[in-house]
């Protein structure tokens, strides 16, 4: 029999609606799952075992549509009363009195915060303790490591992550869940530690497209529906191998190329397009903007806790930022404007880009959360992107496929994603 913790939020809400499940049973089951699995997975930096039970009981009295979904949030996102430690050892007593905007919106819709999920140090690269649920010796990816692992391990149906480069898409792909980064600006970021505010995006992890849609609708405070009549043969796909294709492992290449062949066989419109030079340029612009903004955003840590920061951070994005001047920074936005126009011109005749989510399966070892190079361009451009858990590597680890759509075309992206999962995975 299926345990409640295994259910997607959509399925659980359906059962609750039919009086076949109570919120109390659902939340208790998730908390029970966490109690048993957390010692192995280490997905959480903080877990609340008591308040969610009380809230579940309240939900059982209220029973509203799409109400009362348990969720967890990456530990750079403030939840009132739970410590925001940001993957550092020096903020254990940092207990916010104010919910992040998106957390407040979710709570208003009855959503029940279960805990804070492990983030890499300040959302940069230095890893936390989380392991990949599919093989404990492999990285879960980062920086939203705990969010991906918690959803993959059926501890919560939905978790919040954030992405400045590839921090939602990559861990979701490595852990075999859906990772969704909306159009830049769709979800509020008040109360979330900025990394690079011009690029940072709050995103979601879940185990079904419907769950992503429910939480998206809650966060944007609108009621959008999927296009259930979408005909995949009317969608114009562009396949983008990127300049990093030669670094993509063979497993991923074969799976992706087979998928493209299947699409073509099914008379789906797919063209391979070459954006290599533009993607390399994105990388340069992203590195500089995110470096400069990161250096400033983490000034409290840079100046008050420098000696407690990792070498990876000090020699990584912080060092990138320290090479920049304010006038370089302003100039980059003009460059970014031109860059966006050039890419948009190249892709304007397509509805959806297909590209690998990561260079391959989750890497062996917990020291390195993997490369985000396949996500940088889409994050920099603020385009909605999603990774779908479509394939398995020879080592039986998940491999994701990334889909990117036009700005503000998120609903179409989710509708396409649903069809792809139904018809091609």
């Amino acid at each position: 029999m299926t345990e409640p913790f295994e259910l997607t939020a959509t399925k659980a809400l359906e059962l609750i609606d039919k009086n076949k499940l109570s919120y109390f049973e659902w939340i208790e089951s998730c908390l029970g799952r966490i109690k048993i699995r957390e010692p192995f997975i280490k997905a959480f930096s903080y877990i609340d075992y008591t308040r969610p039970i009380e809230l579940a009981k309240k939900c059982d009295q209220i029973k509203k549509k799409n109400f009362g979904i348990p969720f967890a949030a990456k530990d750079i996102i403030d939840i009132e009363g739970m410590p925001t430690q940001m993957g550092t050892p020096f903020y254990s007593e940092n207990i916010p009195k104010r919910d992040a905007g998106s957390v407040a919106i979710a709570k208003h819709n009855g959503c029940i915060p279960i805990g804070k999920t492990v983030t890499t140090e300040l959302g940069h690269r230095h890893p936390g303790p989380t392991v990949n649920p599919h093989n404990y010796e492999h990285t879960p990816g980062g920086s939203s490591s705990g969010s991906a692992a918690a959803v993959a391990e059926n501890m919560v149906p939905i978790a919040f992550g954030t992405q400045t480069t590839g921090s939602v898409i990559r861990p979701a792909a490595y852990c075999g869940v859906i990772g969704y980064k909306p159009t830049y600006g769709d979800f509020d970021k008040s109360g979330i530690l900025p990394n690079s505010p011009s690029i940072d995006t709050l995103g979601l992890m879940a185990r079904s497209i419907e769950d992503i849609l429910i939480m998206r609708n809650i966060l944007i405070e609108e009621e959008c529906l999927l296009n259930e009549n979408l005909n995949i043969n009317n969608i114009r796909f562009a396949f983008v191998k990127t300049p990093y294709w030669n670094k993509v492992d063979d497993d991923t290449k074969v799976h992706l190329e087979n998928f493209i062949s299947n699409l073509i066989e099914s008379k789906v419109n797919v063209e391979e397009i070459d954006l290599n030079n533009l993607i390399l340029e994105s990388s340069e612009i992203h590195k500089k903007i995110s470096g400069y903004e990161f250096k400033r955003s983490i000034s409290a840590e840079r100046f008050h806790h420098y000696n407690e920061l990792s070498d990876i951070l000090r020699n990584g994005r912080l060092s990138d930022g320290e090479k920049m001047s304010l006038s370089d920074y302003h100039y980059l936005f003009d460059q970014l404007e031109r860059h966006k126009h050039m890419i948009n011109n190249k892709v304007s005749s397509y509805d959806c880009i297909i590209s690998p989510s990561a260079l391959g399966e989750a890497l062996n070892g917990l020291e390195y959360t993997g490369s985000p190079v396949l996500n940088t361009t889409w994050t920099l451009l603020g385009l909605p992107s999603i990774t779908l858990p479509m394939f398995k590597s020879k080592n039986n680890l998940p491999i994701g496929c990334q889909f990117i759509s036009k700005k503000a075309d998120d609903n179409n992206l989710l509708s396409i994603s649903k069809k792809i999962l139904l018809e091609f995975s």
Copy 2:
């Protein structure tokens, strides 16, 4: 004899450098001034009388260039250990464990935080208790009410404010100090309550251009100099009356027109240009973007404290935001892009715009902090602007004049401002 609290930071640092003043004497004098004047001015929501003295003693041992400036920050900006109450009654126990990025940068340069200054409710319009130091029955302006009043009353030489519409320029003009809003993006905003993150700008209040420059240099972590050889006759000025000129009071009109005549008599290049339709369009775009973003940024208060919020807020920016959809919001950024190009085309042949800072002197009464209509366009466009305390009304209240320069041309704006104050006020 001049008391230390009366000194600009530049002058005090000069005396300290010559061993004619100690940090201890300076800070003690400012705190003494606050103790005596605060009961009348009500500029602060929190004052620290002990730690600044300790820090001053440390500065006396270190003595570095431009080190150890006392400052205060608007109470939506986090300073570790001091409550961030945001002009609300429900955050008295909200004591952050982490400095705002710009506060951390300032502290790293020895700057000494004296306290938190009164803000309107959540940085919107509902006023705090602060009065105008020039006439206690008049508003100090807002939302950075306490910052302007504290600097005007010689309680601190420099204070941080923020501007989403006219929240730095207007209170500075009303209180007769310099108010400076840099180019959008120049100063870090981590740890500052967002109102409308696409527009919000951290700004400064001070009593001299040199003080603005020193703090700007600290916050951008660069060492810029004023152009002391600037010839005002080489500057191309545009005089913009705006569509609100008929609402500007006569005092302000006469002073501003006299100033323009003086410039022309001095062979300074000034042309009046008409941006009326564009400024009206700015206003519409600003209202919608800031409304939508504000609604989301204050979700914690909207959902957890709705009944404790003022009617002004609920019926003001919050209500503006509630009329918008996400697709309206995205569309507005395309509109803003075109709008920016149109204004930039109209003003590209000028170095500096001259325009009134506010509709007139500070209004009688403390209920309304005044209209920001003369600041909206420049804030929306992210252009650097400054108000200089150049005139006095018939009621002996300060009247400011606003100067706006091109994006990222802040140093030129400060250099022009210095010349204007020297030669024309």
